[in-house]
Amino acid sequence: MHTIVDRDDDSSSGSATTASRPAQAGSQAVAASSLAGAWRRFAVRRLIGLVTNIILLIFVTFFIVQLIPGDPASAIAGEDASQAQVDQIRVELGLDQPLLLQLGSYVAHVVQGDFGTSFHYKVPALQIVGAAAPYTISIAFTSLVIFLVIGLALGMAVGIITRGDRHRWLDHSFNIGAGVVSSIPAYVQATILVTVFAVWLALLPPAYSPAYSVVQSAILPVAALSIGCIASIARIVRRETSVILEQDYMRTARGWRLGSGTLYAKHMLPNLLTTALTLSGIILTALLGSTLIVEAVFAWPGIGSVVVQAISEYKDYPVIRASVFMIGTISLVFNLLIDVVLGLVDPRTLGDDRG
């Protein structure tokens, strides 16, 4: 079903000879006729991966409380707490039970979406996190799309313009410029953007506020998150572009005397996309991390703000657990999404043993 390595006189177009062959794990090639099969195996493999990862996430969130040094209950209650308060927390978190029993009951509750009641807000923890999640997802996803599109276009353009050492000055200034921009932490970018666009020019709101529309408030956070990523991916794409331009198949295309439009848009871009998308998975992970911090600059009501407040102010462990679980799940889903797009662009990647 995978490769059709027929020698020289294969009389069929593939499906007949290959359908009877057992699927081999790890084989990369996907016959056109069995693309549906490749997608099916991809779905099954990724589903198993997703479930495994979520189980691991549940374990990790469980141990956030158990691993607190000393007596978790008194640490959470704080130094001024009375014994009664400490005991109450102990019972609420089930810390008075044997460890395995705690785990069992934790898993049983989490499976039903119950991470416990928030200490501070006195409502289910998942409800608080659930309300914050759309805010985080919207700026992270928008930034993902923006950095992919702009970063790809920019890197490709510079790569093509500087091919074979043309315009060295552009190459150098691009490398330095993109290097500088990508090394500025997102929260510093956010600070700079606020200073310029909110304080000096007073064009955009400095922070999330109901007085402005969500879109208006989202512009600066999204910009702060994407600018660094654009620079990172543009650098990678620029390097990859020059590698691809030296490939044999590009020489073949030049040998066919194709015009530059066809040459770059049709013969180069698909090969570039595969690399760019693969790497954007890694960049995305960093972007999600930055989101958690950048939210603080803009008082953006996302999970980052929720979890930071829960840790530093309220010691609200049910909310911390639910937040970590939610952020982890978002990260998983985003990566899955990228791999699906990757599979659409380049079916060969479906066979990869990733995830």
Binding site: I64, A75, D165
Partner: protein, 556 residues
């Protein structure tokens, strides 16, 4: 770039050492000048307690950099140990551990850090630990991957077979060989930990008052961004400066590890003074290609790759060029195809193909009509991301102006001519779905489809096994016979050339050392140059089915 990074980093270290000694007092001294903007005394302003922001930023360098270095080293140490441990572990444990490492790596470092901060509480030490834990996975994964690669190398296998204890193998052979990539990762990870640590402080999970680092200073500044924006300048600049230093070092090290050759552009020059046509190349009217006094030079080294080469190809003729690698034969072919590689300059007295001067700006259409190419490695010559039909029809539709359906029909016909089964189906397939021989036949079909006058075949059989070689040779011969295409056939194999060509040039070190016109009577006695004699002695005769040594006979 690397040295700029080193210098910048040295500055950061110097400040880290010196600043607390000289500015330690002024950084914590409260003055009456509170919330000051930039002034002569306080160029970066003062905070709410009247403390000098510039002094505070400089003093904070020590805490910030020390924390980042500790976190990086902790992560590197733990990660490398885990990585080596994983590699030494039994197979099942290894696979399970690799899964866990993958899980760990796939989450944002900041999330991992937040989890650890939630467990250990706030403070600079928990933050260092948190960032170290978050970055350990990256080191563990790289080490495990590198170890797996190195473990299969011969010298490690040998050492293990000789009974060297596993731990010793790891310490003596495996770890030292990973030094370079690990060093690069350490430099890159330092930039990451610096930003992440400051980030933790920025959101209030790192340094707690009265301790301060760049992150917490920036946080204080952001809170007053409307009233006193100067406060963010010093800590932001410091953060950018330090992380740029780390980035330059990381990038510089990585670039030094994979040097990419610096090439300059290709140029084709007409020789300033047309050289007199040499006696060896009488140009007659039937010549399709005339190459007169061609030299190709490497721009940077000035080395001459091809020196004063002259030859012609008649219409319907098959000319072979034989020589070892580096003899200049492929460079000669690339000049003829007008596809000279970057960094080379060609000059010639005359270079004309089918009545057109190759030094002129020929339109793409004119070139595509004149020359078609077949390359050495069919495995890499086709675009892996496009179907055969899609890429092979481009030249027909977009350059030669055929209609899409017409091009499709043309290709189907050519595919059957080169004996590719199910031509319509093949056109819908991707290159990786075909064998090497099939791909080369598809390339030949493409060359046929443009109906070019000259086929430049650069080692088209080298990457193929012997039976497939023969089929490719007969296809080229057929193309020559039936369509009248002239062929420039490049090979290092005199045996192959002999079975196909009408005439042969032997090249060595950029020069033509022998011209063989009588292929029928080719023997060690009929050639003059000792190098040709060597080549002849080294090549067994290839028998093409139905072929007679005289090249003009049909091969099929």
């Amino acid at each position: 770039m690397l040295y700029v990074g080193y210098v910048m980093f040295a500055v950061v270290l110097l400040v880290a050492v010196i600043a607390p000694i000289y500015y330690g007092d002024s950084a914590t001294a409260m003055t009456s000048t509170r919330n000051s903007g930039p002034t002569g005394a306080f160029p970066m302003g003062t905070d709410g307690l009247g403390r000098d922001m510039l002094a505070r930023t400089l003093v904070a360098t020590r805490v910030t950099v020390l924390a980042a270095i500790s976190a990086t080293l902790l992560a590197a140490l733990a990660g490398i140990s885990i990585g080596v441990g994983v590699w030494l572990a039994p197979r099942r444990v290894r696979e399970a551990s690799l899964r866990v490492i993958e899980f760990w790596v796939s989450y944002p470092a900041m999330l991992v850090a937040i989890v650890v901060a939630a467990i250990l509480g706030r403070g600079i030490l928990p933050a260092v630990l948190a960032i170290a834990v978050a970055n350990t996975a990256g080191f563990a994964r790289l080490t495990a991957n590198l170890a797996a690669g190195i473990a299969s190398r011969d010298y490690v296998v040998t050492a293990r077979l000789m009974g060297v204890p596993v731990g010793r193998v790891a310490a003596r052979h495996v770890v030292p060989n990973m030094a370079e990539p690990l060093l690069i990762l350490i430099a890159q990870a330092f930039a990451g930990t610096l930003v992440e640590l400051a980030g933790l402080s920025f959101i209030g999970l790192g340094a707690q008052s009265p301790a301060f680092d760049w992150g917490s200073l920036l946080n204080e500044g952001v809170k007053k961004i409307y009233t006193n924006p100067i406060l963010v300048v010093a800590p932001a600049t410091a953060l950018i400066f330090a992380s740029m230093a780390a980035l330059f070092i990381g990038d510089g090290l990585a670039a030094a590890a994979n040097p990419r050759s610096n090439t300059s552009r290709a140029r084709m020059l007409r020789a300033p003074v047309p050289a007199p046509a040499s006696a060896a190349t009488p140009v007659h009217s039937d010549a399709l290609l005339v190459v007169d006094d061609l030299s190709v030079r490497h721009n940077d080294s000035g080395k001459e790759l091809v020196s004063h080469v002259s030859f012609t190809i008649d219409r319907g003729e098959v000319l072979g060029i034989v020589g070892e690698s580096g003899s200049g034969k492929s460079v000669t072919a690339s000049v003829v195809a007008k596809l000279l590689a970057e960094g080379l300059t060609a000059s010639a007295g005359r270079l004309s193909l089918a009545g057109a001067d190759l030094f002129d700006n020929l339109s793409r259409k004119d070139l595509a009509r004149r020359v078609a190419l077949v390359y050495q490695d069919p495995g890499t010559a086709l675009n892996p991301a496009l179907t055969l039909g899609s890429q092979l029809s481009d030249v027909l539709v977009k350059v030669l102006g055929q209609k899409r359906t017409e091009a499709r029909r043309n290709l189907v016909e050519r595919f059957s001519e080169v004996l590719l089964t199910d031509p319509e189906g093949r056109l819908r397939q991707y290159p990786h779905q075909l064998s090497g021989g099939m791909k080369q036949r598809a390339m030949i079909a493409s060359a046929m489809s443009t109906n070019a006058q000259l086929l430049v075949a650069d080692e088209p059989t080298t990457a193929l096994d012997v039976t497939v070689q023969r089929e490719v040779l007969s296809l080229i011969k057929r193309m020559n016979k039936e369509m009248g295409t002239s062929v420039l056939f490049i090979s290092h194999d005199l045996g192959v050339v002999r079975a196909l060509c009408d005439r042969v040039l032997v090249m060595k070190e950029g020069e033509i050392v022998e011209r063989i016109d009588d292929m029928a009577h080719l023997s060690p006695e009929s050639v003059k140059h000792p190098y040709t004699r060597q080549l002849l002695a080294a090549t067994p005769v290839v028998h093409v089915p139905g072929a007679v040594t005289a090249g003009s006979e049909a091969l099929r």
